[in-house]
């Protein structure tokens, strides 16, 4: 008999490993974690570091990561005020937990080869 794949209410059971992969697979998340491993960063610094991202997307992404307790946000009340972001212990632990997987990727994953020319 097949192993049951669903809980009683028909939903797939929660898998923390899949949830982690889903979280890491979202655009900008990984880059933001990598940037913030370098220390506290202002919004504008993150924006510059990420190049292509627009401010609205970045703000939204950071808000989600704040909700997930990966980053913490702090408003510095200077004039003019600024907003800065840093990794929480949870965010730092995630970066460290990625270490072996990053090594694996660099060891084993190669860029897809360009399609072979048809000149022959």
């Amino acid at each position: 008999m097949a192993r049951p794949k669903k809980t009683e209410d028909g939903a797939a059971p929660f898998c923390p490993v899949k949830a982690t992969l889903y979280l890491l697979g979202r655009k900008w998340t990984l880059l933001l974690i990598m940037e913030l491993m370098g220390g506290v960063k202002r919004f504008n610094e993150l924006s510059h570091a990420l190049g292509g991202v627009n401010s609205r997307t970045l703000r939204e992404r950071l808000r989600i990561m704040e909700k997930e307790q990966l980053v913490s946000r702090r408003v510095v009340s200077h004039i003019p005020p600024w907003v800065e972001y840093s990794l929480t212990p949870k965010g730092r632990a995630l970066f460290k937990a990625m270490d072996d997987l990053s090594h694996w990727g660099r060891r084993w994953m190669k860029p897809p080869r360009p399609a072979a020319g048809k000149s022959r």
Copy 2:
């Protein structure tokens, strides 16, 4: 100035870590790797272990994983013949590289709380 995000031909540069996450994020891949860590498995055994997957999807998924050199496929020429799968060194290394990230997930990722009732 923003850091360049694109290569000269306009494509995003290849990132082995993202490629790894993409690979792991595909449905069934992680479960198949986990099943095959238990040793060589016949197609039917994998099919049973995974419950909900249909044979065509499973065959296709295993073919992709074979192409990615994560699993190896062997036809055993008994009568009737059968097909069995095992992890390659690359596949086993991937499972081991997932270890810290799995721990992180189990430590930090919680199931989403059900939506609050509106009875109050």
